[in-house]
Every structure is written in C-alpha cells, then in structure tokens.
C-alpha cells in the first residue's frame, strides 16, 4: 500500500468517526482550493462563501461515504459541485414559482450573476486582470474543466468523477476550453 493510499484510508476512517480535529485540519488545508473552485463555479463571492461552509457541513454529515480509494479533493469538489447544482435547480423552481404566484409580494432576491462582473470583483489584483477577463469570456462548462485541470491539477479521471461525465467528454471540453482561453487571452472573442 502506498503512503498516499494509507493517508486516504486514514482520512476515511477519521471522517467516519467525525473527528473534529481532522475536520479543522482539512478546512485549513483545502480552504483556498475549495473557495477558488466555488468562486469560479458561482462567479459570486458571497455565494461562494455560503457554499464553502455548506460543503464542510456535508463533509461532516456524509464523511462515512468517502471510501479512501480516490483523492480526497476530488470527493470534496464533487460535494461542492452537487451543492451548487442543487441550488441552481432550486433557484429555477423558485423563479418559476415567483412568476406563477401573484400573491408572492417579495420574491427571493437573486443577484444577476452577469452583472456587474462578479469575478472581476473577486480577483482584484491588476496583475491578474488578463486572466480574470479571459475566464469571464469562457463558457462555464469549459471554465470548470480548465480550472479543475490546470489550477487544481486533478487528473482526467478525477475530473470525470467530480463532474459525473465520461473521460472522453472531459477531454473534449478541455481541448475546447484551452482553445477558448488562448483566444480570450490574446484578445479575441472566446
């Protein structure tokens, strides 16, 4: 058994026990990566913060489901992604309810994620403005795989697990995403 596998097994055991020390340590260890991923996924800073907290609550509640056979970060990103997808589904239902229910005087306020450039506000450093602008130009389905592969450095099969997609689809999206990013970085439309 390799050290990595022994580590993930030990991690799985700790999660099963809901070891608070371990969870504290994991939150510290993965805070930047998880937040960054959620920010790219939601394009909204406050929302990413909410999802960040909810993701760790889920990790606590469903820790027994982590079997230690795969990388922890892949499992963590899967949880985070599922939370965002659930929220998006709910949002669609709610907005439909709002449209069909005239009695609802104060519908849930949901900020329009397209205005005013939330990633722009989140990635504030001027040095990173080119990256920020080009990321905004890339469609979310490509942005996500590009971030998971080149920023989070997950393997193709791990990305496929996180996104519940075949590896071939992940590859296709990566090729297109890379092309879109290259075009966007050189100033063209992505």
């Amino acid at each position: 058994m390799t050290t990595d596998m022994a580590d993930t097994r030990a991690l799985a055991e700790g999660l099963k026990r809901r070891d608070p020390e371990l969870l504290d340590q994991l939150i510290e260890q993965y805070q930047h990566r998880l937040f960054r991923y959620l920010l790219y996924l939601t394009s909204h800073r406050e929302r990413a913060e909410d999802f960040f907290q909810e993701t760790w609550i889920r990790v606590l509640e469903r820790g027994h489901q982590y079997d230690g056979k795969s990388k922890f970060e892949a499992w963590l990103f899967t949880i985070a992604r599922n939370l965002v997808i659930d929220w998006q589904r709910q949002r669609k239902v709610q907005s439909l309810d709002t449209l069909t229910d005239p009695a609802q005087e104060h519908p849930l306020q949901i900020a329009d994620v397209r205005h005013p450039s939330p990633l722009h506000a989140a990635i504030s450093d001027q040095q990173d403005s080119a990256v920020r602008d080009s990321l905004e130009k890339i469609a979310l389905i490509y942005r996500e795989v590009v971030v998971l592969r080149f920023h989070e450095e997950l393997q193709l099969d791990e990305i496929a697990t996180v996104m519940h997609l075949p590896v071939s689809t992940v590859k296709t999206r990566l090729y297109r995403g890379l092309e879109a990013m290259r075009v966007a970085m050189t100033g063209g439309p992505a």
Binding site: D24, Q53, L60, D125, F150, H151, L178, M181, R182, T186
Partner: protein, 166 residues
C-alpha cells in the same frame, strides 16, 4: 509533389502541431510526438507563438491571486464543530428508535400467526367483514414502521433547520 499537395502538407503539420501543444497540456505526449513537436516548433514561428501563448495563459491561470475571505475558515470550523455536536447528541436517540422498531418487528414476526388467529377469531365474533380484519392485521404490522418513520421524519426538518441557522 505538386504545389497544392505541398501546401496541404504544411497546413496539416501546423494543425498537428497545435493539436499536440494542447495534448501536451491535457493528456501528455509520448516520446515520438514530443520529438516531432520540438522539431516543428524550432522551425515554425507561428506554432511557436501558439505554444508560448498557451503556456502563458496557463501560467497566468495557475498564479492568479484570489484573496481568501478573512475569518471564513474559523467560522466554518465553528459551524462544523457545532453540527458535529448536534449529530453526536442525536445519535443515541436515532439508535433507540431503530432498536425499538427492530424489536417490535421481530416480536411482530414471531407472534404473527397467533395475532392472525386472534384477528380472525375477533372478526368472526364481532361479525366484522374478512377484508376489514385483514386490513386491521396489516395495520398492526405496520405500526412500528409508521412510528419510527414519523419520528425520523420529524427529526429531519429540525436537523435541517439547525444546520442552516446562519
């Protein structure tokens, strides 16, 4: 080789180079492919520029600075610990509910033939239609599951509420 075939060949080489540049970053390259690409990039300014712009785009992505919100990690740690405590407190109660439901079911199975006879006897004495006392027997069998299910359903929203308190 005529002029158009030569032109197509050059175009194919550029296309292959671009494909290999991407493949290098996405899947990795074999030794032969790498060798071919290196040789092509040494002689092709356009493809070399594509390779450089790809490299630069990915370097930019890897080094982009995203400030982490202050206090978010500690707030999260606090919430997680609180939730862990709630789950720990709720565990014995859930176990007790399942244990009681299990024992009830075991007893139900063991005594089913006798209870069936009892229902049949009572139905006959009270002139209750067969279907009615059979339904009564079914209900008697389902009671432990209904109680356990009711308690667990009542627990669900309470837990959800407490996990969303802020």
């Amino acid at each position: 080789m005529n002029h158009s075939e030569e032109h197509r060949g050059v175009k194919d080489a550029h296309g292959r180079a671009k494909q290999l540049i991407d493949q290098h970053h996405i899947e990795g390259l074999g030794a032969k492919e790498r060798e071919w690409l290196d040789a092509h990039l040494q002689n092709c300014v356009d493809c070399s520029a594509v390779a450089q712009s790809t490299e630069s785009a990915l370097r930019g992505l890897r080094t982009v600075a995203i400030p982490f919100p202050s206090g978010l990690a500690s707030r999260t740690q606090f919430r997680v610990r609180l939730r862990a405590q709630q789950l720990q407190e709720g565990e014995p109660r859930s176990l007790a509910v399942w244990a009681i439901a299990g024992v009830s079911w075991a007893l139900g199975i063991a005594t089913a033939p006798y209870v069936w006879q009892l229902f049949a006897w009572a139905g006959e004495r009270l002139h209750v239609p067969k279907l009615a006392w059979e339904l009564g027997f079914g209900l008697w069998w389902l009671i432990p599951a209904l109680i356990a299910g009711g308690i667990l359903l009542a627990e669900g929203p309470r837990q959800k509420f407490s996990s969303n308190w802020n």
